[in-house]
Subunit: 504 residues, 3 copies
Amino acid sequence: MNGISVMLSGAVLLLLYAPGVYAQGKNAVPPSAPLSDGTKACIDCHKDLHPGLVQDWLASRHAKITPETALKTPEAGRRISATSVPEALRSVVVGCYECHTLNPAAHKDNFDHADYKVNVVVSPNDCKICHPTEAEQYGGSKKASALANLDNNPVFNALINAIDGIKEVKNKKVVALKSSEATKHDTCYACHGTQVVVKGLKTVSTDVGDMQFPELVNWPNQGVGRINPDGSFGACTSCHPRHRFAIAVARKPYTCAQCHREPDVPAWDVYHESKHGNIFLSTEREWTFENVPWVAGRDFFAPTCATCHNSLLSTPDGAMVAARTHDFGSRPWVRIFGLIYAHPQPKSGKTYMIKNKDGLPLPTTFTGEPASPYLIDKDEQIRRLDQMKKICQSCHASGFTNGHFTKFAASIAESDQMVKAATLLLQGAWDARLADKSNPFDEAIEQKWTKQWLFYANSVRFGSAMMGPDYATFKQGWWDLTNNVADMADMIRLKQGEGTRGHR
Amino acid sequence: MNGISVMLSGAVLLLLYAPGVYAQGKNAVPPSAPLSDGTKACIDCHKDLHPGLVQDWLASRHAKITPETALKTPEAGRRISATSVPEALRSVVVGCYECHTLNPAAHKDNFDHADYKVNVVVSPNDCKICHPTEAEQYGGSKKASALANLDNNPVFNALINAIDGIKEVKNKKVVALKSSEATKHDTCYACHGTQVVVKGLKTVSTDVGDMQFPELVNWPNQGVGRINPDGSFGACTSCHPRHRFAIAVARKPYTCAQCHREPDVPAWDVYHESKHGNIFLSTEREWTFENVPWVAGRDFFAPTCATCHNSLLSTPDGAMVAARTHDFGSRPWVRIFGLIYAHPQPKSGKTYMIKNKDGLPLPTTFTGEPASPYLIDKDEQIRRLDQMKKICQSCHASGFTNGHFTKFAASIAESDQMVKAATLLLQGAWDARLADKSNPFDEAIEQKWTKQWLFYANSVRFGSAMMGPDYATFKQGWWDLTNNVADMADMIRLKQGEGTRGHR
Amino acid sequence: MNGISVMLSGAVLLLLYAPGVYAQGKNAVPPSAPLSDGTKACIDCHKDLHPGLVQDWLASRHAKITPETALKTPEAGRRISATSVPEALRSVVVGCYECHTLNPAAHKDNFDHADYKVNVVVSPNDCKICHPTEAEQYGGSKKASALANLDNNPVFNALINAIDGIKEVKNKKVVALKSSEATKHDTCYACHGTQVVVKGLKTVSTDVGDMQFPELVNWPNQGVGRINPDGSFGACTSCHPRHRFAIAVARKPYTCAQCHREPDVPAWDVYHESKHGNIFLSTEREWTFENVPWVAGRDFFAPTCATCHNSLLSTPDGAMVAARTHDFGSRPWVRIFGLIYAHPQPKSGKTYMIKNKDGLPLPTTFTGEPASPYLIDKDEQIRRLDQMKKICQSCHASGFTNGHFTKFAASIAESDQMVKAATLLLQGAWDARLADKSNPFDEAIEQKWTKQWLFYANSVRFGSAMMGPDYATFKQGWWDLTNNVADMADMIRLKQGEGTRGHR
């Protein structure tokens, strides 16, 4: 090899390295790894019908590597958790055919298409062939049960219907209807997942003549707890969007931000205003989002959501800092949103199985008593907190880390006290017959109480957890916790006719 | 050519290719294409007076290419829609002199400056010399009439004055003054455009002695419906900011986000939390924003606003997917914001010419009956929806696309029903003399009604249209539609003195 | 040097130039400049304990240059303001040991650690050794006194306690407790700074045996007015986050956005929707954030916060446009947030020393009369406005700039009138004994008044100052100023029992 060819290969390397080149169609040539005949057939038509989809896949890792080759990667850096892969899939890249034809008997959305039997929806149970650990962890998480946890809980059902039902005004009275599938699909189920149902086959006239396709109801949807036509739960595409399925996207906070944002779950918003978010937003272009394991100080310089909540982390020397998990509830010790009071993480992802002292599937009573048998115990909480601190200590001293979490614990307790105050005011209103407790979500004062825990207490806790000052203070935080209590008290006085009596 | 010089040119190419180099002053050398004497004279002084402005222009495409050369580009990739350009402009780059001296007779802002007669404001009518198709399309759009559509509509006038007028408290009563020009300029007209008026000439002392400049009123402004000193309507700089005028900026959602954001038009906010926004935010650094036509899967991997609403799109093979349009209302079939109910797109951009059954220039009555003669008919709606689906199908199957739009249609209908409920409550309050209908925007309960359609129903529709779960649910969506109706009903009961009677 | 080696070095240069390389661990090799023995000893252990921290520092400028070399940079481009540096620090890079061992006698957080005496917290007084001008400017700013200005002002104390105190419901009455340290730390003090107090030493068991560390209270915190264990005020890390301390981060708006965001200080939010923000967000990847001085048209193409408020700016030819300042109140002429009315900038950063006509440490009375002796005079206001205009004129003509600031002045006056209206309504309620003025922040109607100035008037002023249309209009702007007055008037009527009388 002479000097000039060294330079040439150097130039080629540089070309590949330059940002922008990777995705600009330069990879959109047939990959060098072998495609199956099935995938070739799919691409043959679909590259013209849905070019964006096909090009996106061509730029994916799936299009460039066979499971056989992937299995040869040293374990720490492997993205495939199967120890072996069925022979038919082993030596071709992971293409259309490979993913869309698995487990046809289970797939009610399977249909005859050209010479193949194809599934419309690819489910976690399909991805499981190469990624069994991830599928199993995810299956046990609250995410996989996100739809079931709503549908099987009468309290959440009442909340959904109160919010989503059309209101009609009849004889000057407001009458609420039951919420429609379309609106639930647009709202709660957009994140929690829909149940995708196959209604039958539908004839569609296409450029190549009439064709039959399954007609799916509650589709499209990428909610985390989607119930798929094969009966499985979840959608890997919630975080690994089609058809690139890139780890880099899943590691960016923009992905989590789709659902975890204000007013109910202000994780993204708090991150954005935190020092970590400040550093991410200012320097993310210099980071590497593809490396496995992911290394603080080499690949990234502040945590994203994935860093603390699921990624495989190691030191630059390769010592493990945190194991990868796709059970997103398995790292936190406390659950700070979505319910009336903060509480230890539930033991099972199926939260509808909880029973509190009032017999409701809620992790605490309305006055805050935890349903302890269903929640992780003190030892497990400490174990998880210690594990989280280990991640922080990649960049922070122990005094810094401990100080942070001590403050966080105090703030959780105080936010719960502020919810308790609102709850006592509401109970007073119920007792005085100023409101009707039969549905706790459908009157103005009840909706103020709901905001106290569903929006404001959450903001304070996220603001404390991730150091976002504004969400703890003026933006849905302490200001609103306080103002809401004052408004509730004022509303009660007015309803009691005390407005005219001068100052209380 | 020997090996080494091949390498050298390769290195130069790489250098030009590397992001960051393009704009880092490296282009801020005199462009190779010829500058007119006029432009040279402008730059001679202004490069020191306003270096940022001049350098920005030097980095623009305008500074690098003559209309003559541009006209030789194959039609599909051409950015100039004129088929010929006046001789004086043809063989020089598009510089200061070329744009700021056109149509001097029409320009009330034309003034003697050094040895030239210069216009302060460059208008769409000036840009039209090279971009006639764009100027004409834009001229017919609602954007071009955005100021006229406010000023010629008494309902919008009442709303503007209700919002923007200073409130004084006299004898414990609130008195509203008429809104000032400054505040209208800061608020509604910032997006809709001001009328830029020339008050006369003003002497300014400068480093080179006293000079006279036109004094403009309601300036600066880049609103889309600006009325310019030459009598033309609009501002190309709304989306193509000075003095780079880059197509890349116009194609990024940050541009549309200036005006199309919550609470009244939450397009940006919904996009940010959608899967499309997630992909854009996570991978935009790998995309190409300059190519014409713009190709899904080659240049971009998720749509931005421009993709669906105005860009020229083709397949990788060059088949047209959508023609470019600068009439931004010409692609959508339904209008989902800004008015009391959703309705088919108006036929004309001059919406003040609409007359509904109540004689008002609104596309529906207060109870939702459409002013059909002024709105596109069913066939045209279907044609447009089909065209939009074609864009979606660059990446999505027809079942996916159809499922999406079916849900969207249902959600539009439901959001309208929620507005109707609030409207009936307000009419009840008016009838019971709990509020005064003479101005429908100036009392607390009327402002709740206004929020129902102007903020919350819009959020639900945008959330449904672009799959933004939170804006459909808790962030100004169904939660607020519902809570607002409960608050209005509560307010009415309190005003009727029913507060003390125990529960309704 | 032959042709091939020219090419090689070219390739290396390109490699260094490519974004992404800089931070991807490639620099995480021992820097070529000499490390002190102390710093070597620190790194020896801490590279394993806190690898992210150490790698971040290794990528910093501090790790690459000695003060001696820095002092040789021509003055305009120098980042060090000391004219000489103590000999011990002069010829080694700025490492762990150099910063964490200064002024040990003053540091109550100094402790014996391995063979060294180390401070936990590095303070502005430590940074001052190399950056005296910055430390001194900062010391005189409102930022440095941000905690003191809260703690020494009884009005702000009342506001903090009203917001942050836990509310309990006893006998159906709301009782407010005093706010806790944890919550103040999470909220107001997160931005304003905590007082970091050393409680004593604490034994921690580590991998290398038991060790003693100082136990700090109100730590961690990076608030701008932090009171440090050495008695100094402020935290350089608020804007220059550890351990890179990059000027590039401080110049990005994401940094200021941590505290300056809605609802109380919507600077970031307004910037985001402004044309400047539009250009920044669309093109920042092409800008240079490291150059000193910073040059419009060469390095950046629209201002960020730092451009107008503190950076050293020059023309491409090196003529100074604005001197660097770390007293962030020294450029603006008017103060548009945080207080009841807009007012001229205070003369001193210690605003608690102001005394208005009512004897309170506020820059105006409740009805708007300024405490003029404590505020800059008209001449100084004009001088500062002219200086700001000079920055604008890097890219804008004088007519454009003047038109903008004329509008801004009018909008400030109008926003003050809207606050006055709310104040008169509140005073009417106090007079009628519908509310109790002893604490002006703890009742529902008082909190509405607080929102009028603390949220809505600020939004209008920021929206006008930086051309953010939505924040001036519907998002906390004129809409809310108006709606809030209507709500207050309605609330007063209801409290007076006027609800039943039909329309006013």
